[in-house]
């Protein structure tokens, strides 16, 4: 494995030559690389989008090893097929990328997708049947629900289920002798443990992601509630289902109110947060997935692990058993019979009985092949596996309907609002229901026809070309040479800056979902943005975020600059070091700022900021899960990153203050404050003004650090307008809506830019 080290070395020694990539050099020596399998010169190439944790790049070494073996075998036995692999770890991103690829006809040949995404792709057109290349006897080896769910109306089978899981209650036997079967009992037991042991009684996912909804559906189903009716139309907001949903949200709210669960459940958007709390000894019970059992085992001592057990999910009424089965499936989007055959063969090759038996345990999934239970005694005999298998029989999958992702997204928000107490459960369900109805209505109206011949599409392009031609003609008349010097820069900027601005206006008048999909011109998009009940909250969040960030950055920047400048004037050593330290935070990529602060602010007791707080006697603070604190955290992280910018500008301004002024101030015997008030601030005024406008623009357009830090949550409390725009376009796939928001942002941005230019001009003139 010297190859990646060589890449690293190559990068370090900076031999950046276009064309010669390390990928091509590596493929000759090894058949399995992080991004490809097979020979470089194979006549057929399949593209594959796999799941990170179910690939040769899995973080778990044993899964990675198994896949490495499987892919090597495939490469050896299929020399004529090469696979270009991309692993897609971020769930939301994976789905959005697939949808966008579907719209622009760039789907991979093979993909691993979450089972409930299936309805998003047109059976037969986009996703291709596997059964023509998949023997019936092998299909019969799979659990019936996996085949039935994936069989379309035309009788063809459109996917191969690669393992499943179910949701269970984890509990520590030493703290909870008998697992609670009802909500009431659960809250009682958990709040008592929380009170007495000072640890979390009960943890669950309430962050903004799919699991927050799916984990809790069994509690809704267990009451007899249904999300959609038999035709697939949403009904969860209608009686009698509505009050069951309200009851569920009330229960979740109660866990926090009655002290059974900490508020930090609102920041749980990763199963790891549940298991890590368990590992840190900070949880008595949690609602998790069946695979987490094997997650706990290696991280705990055998004695500690023996304390844990699993039980069915507690329900409103005793005696009800309900759980949700998830699972991922392989699908083929390949075009042409050769590729379709190769794709189907590849999928079956990976999922052979032998391979499934070997992968299922390290991948911590429950096999759906009967022969695995027959050939691998572990799956029959392990006491945990046996019970999980029995519960799986009663498990339900999510409804395979087009509206489900919307329902989930809205219920995620509703759970956030209800658990945080920002809305009553009734209000939260009502809000989610209204939005689901709106989207369902639009789906019923049907996708607009493909934009075969839309003359409007030419308008922005023609306008841009006109502007550019006009500009160039004017130059041409004055001096032909000028055109040659200016044309390339002007042309590129026109194409990627001017044209998109005009195109934005056109798109904001459409109901486009994503580029390549059908659309029509309508004012409904603008109306829906203007009437979005969450809009005022997001505008408020944006104003808060921008005002606080700008004020703090200006103030701290000025303070730092003055301090460093006065140290410099006195010739104190270390000014350069301090300055470099401040600026080092500013050169960190924005996403990393989010990741870094998420690590610092981790909400269990091992989180470093909380730990430091505990040393000075502060209680553990929910930095990311409490709405107002999450906003504070986002602002602090942003100011930490951004103060350098204002410091540098103001430091440059300070250096320009004539020495004589300072000397005069020394003679007059001014105090530090007086000097600041009478010497420094008047001299810095123009720079401060410019700084103010520039920081405002930057902050208004910031969302890269918010995305990994809070994702806009809890609920939508840190969802600034820029993030809303981004999510609309690339998560909810509402390009028209996103364009409408962006148009407003553009207008604000341009106005601020004009102000900034005026300030600069005035400064240059004086």
């Amino acid at each position: 494995m010297s190859k990646p080290r060589r890449f690293a070395a190559a990068i370090l020694f900076a031999a950046v030559l276009a064309g010669a990539t390390p990928v091509s050099a590596a493929a000759e020596e090894e058949l399995v690389t992080p991004v490809s399998v097979g020979r470089e010169d194979a006549p057929l190439t399949l593209t594959m989008w796999a799941q990170q944790e179910y690939s040769h790049l899995a973080a778990r070494q044993d899964v990675a090893t198994q896949f490495h073996r499987i892919f090597s075998e495939w490469a050896r036995t299929h020399p004529d097929v090469r696979i270009d692999i991309s692993v897609m770890p971020a769930l939301e991103l994976h789905k959005a990328k697939l949808m966008m690829a579907a719209a622009s006809d760039r789907l991979p040949d093979v993909a691993s997708i979450d089972s409930f995404w299936m309805p998003l792709f047109k059976a037969g057109e986009q996703v291709k049947p596997l059964d023509p290349f998949w023997p019936a006897e092998d299909r019969a080896d799979f659990l019936p629900f996996t085949i039935d769910t994936l069989t379309a109306k035309d009788g063809h089978v459109y996917g191969l289920w690669h393992g499943t899981d179910c949701r269970v209650l984890y509990y520590r036997k030493d703290l909870v002798p008998t697992p609670p079967r009802t909500w009431e009992k659960l809250i009682e037991v958990a709040s008592r443990i929380a009170r007495e042991k000072k640890i979390s009684g009960y943890l669950f996912n309430a962050g903004r992601w799919e699991a927050a909804v799916f984990d809790h559906l069994p509690m809704f189903w267990g009451q007899g509630g249904e999300l959609v009716d038999e035709s697939g139309a949403p009904i969860f907001g209608l009686p009698p289902h509505r009050e069951k949903m309200v009851r569920l949200l009330q229960f979740l709210r109660d866990t926090v109110v009655k002290g059974a669960s900490p508020r930090s459940v609102l920041a749980n958007n990763d199963y790891q947060q549940l298991s890590s709390a368990a590992i840190a000894g900070d949880a008595a019970m949690f609602l998790g997935g069946s695979w987490q059992l094997r997650e706990l085992e290696p991280s705990l001592t055998p004695e500690q692990f023996a304390l844990w057990d699993v039980a069915p999910i507690p329900q409103r009424e005793p005696g009800v058993v309900s759980t949700g089965a998830g699972g991922w499936i392989w699908v083929s989007f390949a075009k042409g019979s050769a590729k379709q055959r190769a794709a189907a063969e590849l999928i079956q090759f990976i999922e052979s009985t032998k391979n499934v038996g070997a992968i299922s345990l390290p991948a911590r999934q429950l096999p759906v092949r009967r022969s695995v239970y027959r050939d691998f005694p572990y799956f029959r005999e392990d006491p945990f596996q046996a019970r999980l298998g029995a519960w799986l029989v009663q498990a339900r999958a999510r409804p395979a309907v087009l509206i489900y992702p919307t329902i989930s997204e809205q219920l995620q928000l509703a759970i956030g609002y209800a658990v945080s107490g920002d809305q009553t459960p009734e209000q939260a369900v009502e809000g989610a229901w209204a939005e689901v109805l709106r989207v369902a209505e639009r789906q019923r109206a049907g996708a607009s026809p493909a934009p075969a011949a839309d003359p409007m599409i030419l308008v922005p392009a023609a306008l841009t070309a006109l502007l550019l031609t006009f500009g160039l003609l004017t130059l041409w008349r004055q001096s032909r040479a000028l055109v040659i010097w200016l044309l390339p820069a002007m042309a590129l900027a026109s194409a990627f800056l001017v044209y998109p601005m005009l195109e934005l206006l056109r798109l904001s008048a459409t109901d486009m979902t994503t580029e390549g999909a059908g659309y029509s011109y309508t004012s409904a998009t603008l109306e829906s943005v203007a009437t979005d009940p969450d809009l005022p909250g997001m505008i408020f969040a944006t104003l808060l975020f921008v005002t606080a960030s700008v004020a703090l950055q200006l103030g701290i920047g000025l303070g730092l600059a003055v301090l460093i400048d006065s140290a410099r004037r006195r010739g104190i050593s270390g000014t350069l070091f301090a300055r470099a330290a401040v600026v080092s935070a500013w050169v960190i990529p924005g996403v990393l700022i989010g990741v870094l602060w998420r690590i610092l602010l981790m909400e269990n007791r091992a989180g470093i900021v909380n730990y430091m707080g505990a040393i000075v006697g502060l209680p553990s603070l929910p930095f990311l899960s409490s709405g107002s604190l999450a906003m504070v955290s986002v602002i602090v992280a942003n100011v930490w990153r951004g103060s350098a910018f204002s410091m540098i500008l103001q430091f440059a301004g300070l250096m320009r203050i004539p020495k004589e002024l300072h000397e005069a101030a020394d003679l007059e015997g001014l105090t530090r404050l007086q000097r600041l008030r009478w010497v420094i601030v008047p001299q810095l005024k123009p720079i401060l003004a410019l700084n103010l406008v520039l920081i405002t623009i930057y902050t208004l357009n910031t969302f890269d650090m918010i995305l990994p830090l809070t994702g806009g949550g809890p609920a939508r409390q840190t969802e600034v307008i820029a993030l809303y725009m981004y999510r609309s376009a690339f998560y909810s796939l509402e390009a028209g809506r996103s364009a409408a928001i962006a148009t407003v942002m553009l207008a604000v941005n341009l106005v601020l830019a004009l102000i900034a230019v005026r300030v600069m001009r005035r400064q240059a003139a004086s």
Partner: protein, 274 residues
């Protein structure tokens, strides 16, 4: 005498440095831990058996080396393209007098402040229609276009700062516009060019939103996108995320420490020169 009054200032400088460096130090500390140690209680700066094993894992078993390579490639090529197109434009905007010149400078100045993230949707559409989605070529074109206004504005201000007499002398000697540019202006531009180049390199290296939207294949991801997807899987492996993050951070930090002067010059010029 002097020493005593300096103490508080020195202490303040130290505190400032600590406030900005400690979070990064903690990231480094996490990167030396094992998975279980990330959540150990009480947390420790240096855990038992701290090792660089995570770095080896990252470099040998993940796609991070590919991301680094991609980032380097995209950043260098995009910077090259930006300068190639930006230098001539900045030069004539600085040295020539013509109608609409001020108008053009104004447009570049204003465009420099428009955030590309506002234009994500139409840019995605345009790149899709050009059949350049999921290619480095598409990303590089967009990057260059976005940084051209900044590049032109800053380079123009550097050209403005060159003494006029040199140009007049060269003109009297009968040099053509191109030879004046090549023989007089370019050689004097060194520090300005370095500032702009480094500033652009850093911007491209760190850019996230456009790369996230325009690229699909991991084989082509740049480091910020790679790190984002690395940390947002089902279950985050914080010890590996920390190591990967630190690897992504290191090149910019190193470049910054070595070339601080140019960074600051580029930033100041970009924000204040009109």
């Amino acid at each position: 005498m002097k020493k005593r009054t300096d103490r508080p200032l020195q202490l303040a400088l130290l505190l400032i440095a600590a406030a900005f460096l400690l979070p990064q130090l903690w990231l480094f500390s996490l990167s030396l831990k094992t998975k279980a140690q990330v959540f150990e209680y009480p947390p420790r700066l240096v855990s038992e058996n701290a090792s660089l094993a995570n770095y080896a894992t990252i470099l040998e078993r993940t796609q991070i080396p590919f991301y680094l390579w991609n980032s380097a490639r995209v950043a260098v090529l995009a910077t090259g393209l930006t300068l190639l197109l930006g230098i001539p434009a900045a030069y004539v905007l600085s040295r020539e007098r013509f109608k609409f010149r001020d108008g053009l400078v104004f447009l570049f100045l204003a465009a420099q402040m428009v955030s590309p993230i506002i234009l994500l949707v139409p840019i995605y559409g345009l790149v899709a229609r050009l059949q350049l989605l999921d290619t480095h070529a598409g990303l590089i074109l967009v990057y260059a276009a976005i940084q051209i206004p900044f590049t032109v504005v800053v380079l123009k201000s550097f050209f403005d700062g060159l003494p006029t007499s040199l140009f007049e002398a060269a003109h009297l000697d009968g040099c053509s516009r191109f030879s004046i540019f090549r023989l007089v202006a370019l050689p004097l531009l060194g520090p300005g060019l370095a500032s702009v180049a480094i500033f652009n390199l850093a911007a491209y290296w760190s850019e996230f939103c456009l790369a996230l939207v325009l690229l699909d294949s991991q084989a082509r991801f740049t480091i910020p996108v790679g790190l984002f997807s690395f940390q947002s899987g089902y279950e985050t492996e914080w010890h590996l995320v920390a190591a990967a993050s630190f690897i992504g951070l290191l090149p910019v930090l190193l470049a910054f420490i070595l070339l601080q002067r140019f960074f600051v010059a580029g930033l100041t010029a970009g924000a204040t020169k009109g």
